[in-house]
Amino acid sequence: MKKKNRTGLYYITPWLIGMLLFTVYPFASSLYYSFTDFNLISSPNFIGFDNYITMFQDDLFWTSLNVTFRYVFLTVPLKLVIALSVAFVLNFKLKGINFFRTAYYIPSILGGNVAIAVLWTFLFATDGLFNQFIGIFGFEAIGWFSTEWGAMTTLVILRVWQFGSAMVIFLAALQNIPAELYEAAAIDGASKVKTFLRVTLPMLTPIIFFNFVMQLVQAFQEFNGPFLITGGGPLNSTYLLPMMIYDNAFRYFRMGYASALSWVLFLIILVFTLIIFKTSSSWVHYADEEGSAK
């Protein structure tokens, strides 16, 4: 069956064309555009590194970069820790676990919908549900959308609320850990904490690694939250880079500048991904025969 011939190539031809046309070509041309001044009306005008120079002198860029880092470094660890903890609790043999699993998963299915952005504006309005709730305990209403930290918090909560997608992956991984390992640990008299640290956690590292990279790549590209809920404000405190790219490209039609911004964002994501990959050999444990990232 597995003869070397062209048949396989025929089947992947559509993908190959798509990859060249919708990935490689735009990827390369975005690098080219980043060295041009291009407003869609006149043809691209090569300006060398001007876009990058402008960017590095642009206060808004530095603000946006700062805010983006804050957003990513808050959401990714929080989301992973919560996803793993909930998966851990759900992994106990309890009745009705499927129900909880399903319910916790719902927000990550709906989270990207504009309807949820509508919901968020009501939840965190000054006299909205959240402030009413904390009011019961005597706390004063918080200006979620009028304070810088408040606006960022609403966006962070929105992302962390969608931990279900990472949770179900952790849960499946937890259920794949062979029972013998736990039995062996029990025979050795290991405590529960020790079993978790020495058996469960190492066995999960390939999945933690996978989720970590995925979440990081996605968080750096968050657009809907700031665009729909906070509008990037107040005082640009939630003006994430993807929104800055959108504004430059599709509001001001500065295609060259937008491309330069997206390349910087891409390089940042790349550096982080590479760091995780490079360090992974020291903390990701692959069981002998499995190798789930093959």
């Binding site: 089947y11 990859m19 041309s29 309890l94 319910a103 729909l228 997206s262 891409f266």
Partner: protein, 289 residues
Amino acid sequence: MDKYKKNQLYKSGIRYTILILGLFIMIYPIIWLIGASFKTNAEIFSSINFLPNWNTVKEIGFTPYVEGWNTSTEFTFATYFLNTFKIIIPKVIFTVIGSLLTAYGFTRFNFKGKRILMSILIATLFLPSIVTRVPLYIFWRELGMLDTYIPLVIPPLFGGEAFFSYMMIQFMRGVPKDLDEAANIDGCNSFQTLYKIIVPTMIPCIVSCALFQFMWTNNDFLGPLIYISSVSKYPMSIALKMAMDTTAGTFDWNRVIAMSLIGLAPSLILFFSAQKTFIEGATAGSVKG
């Protein structure tokens, strides 16, 4: 009752308490939204209770839904609802076809450069799509395809979303090759083998790909925001954003809320009718299986 049993009961009690508390935090906002669609502006901002005031309900009934459906634009919400499906249906079908062919080529045949191409496929899985957005817009603009659904639905036909190809590859690897060989002996050509033998065994995977693409397309906001400019072609996501903007004044909030719920309805209905497939699909790509 012995001590051990008592201890177990105590432990599961704590677990359930945590789980239910968590559940409440996770789901209450959505339940509250349903109640809020029957509330007046004043009630929305004064009551933490999800149940609306019964007198208000008697008075306004389904007015928010009716008025929201009529929208403040020249079209009713039905137009936007239909438009959404004009994008979803082709996109889902193209995604399945495109990723199925890709997976078949990669898992069942050997050819020159296969290893390299496979690594490229995996790399595109992690490639941030934000880098390609501006050039793709310019590309479709030059082809005169702006303000059509083409830029939204065509790339998946060419395996545009690596996630789905990868998911299919993972699943197809688990389909025993003996089946193909038997079909081969019976005189099936490679394409017949694909749709007669492999596709039937891939149904669970195909269904979960379709479900995920349905959800993601229903949620998609940025795609239509960039490519669609005529109001008559807007899908629900953009129509909802318009409703958010136009009601910022003194409008009745319950209309926007009612529309949001209608916008969520297709996803919610689909999710509840196929939740098992969803959760299995969500783990298929990452955990070996």
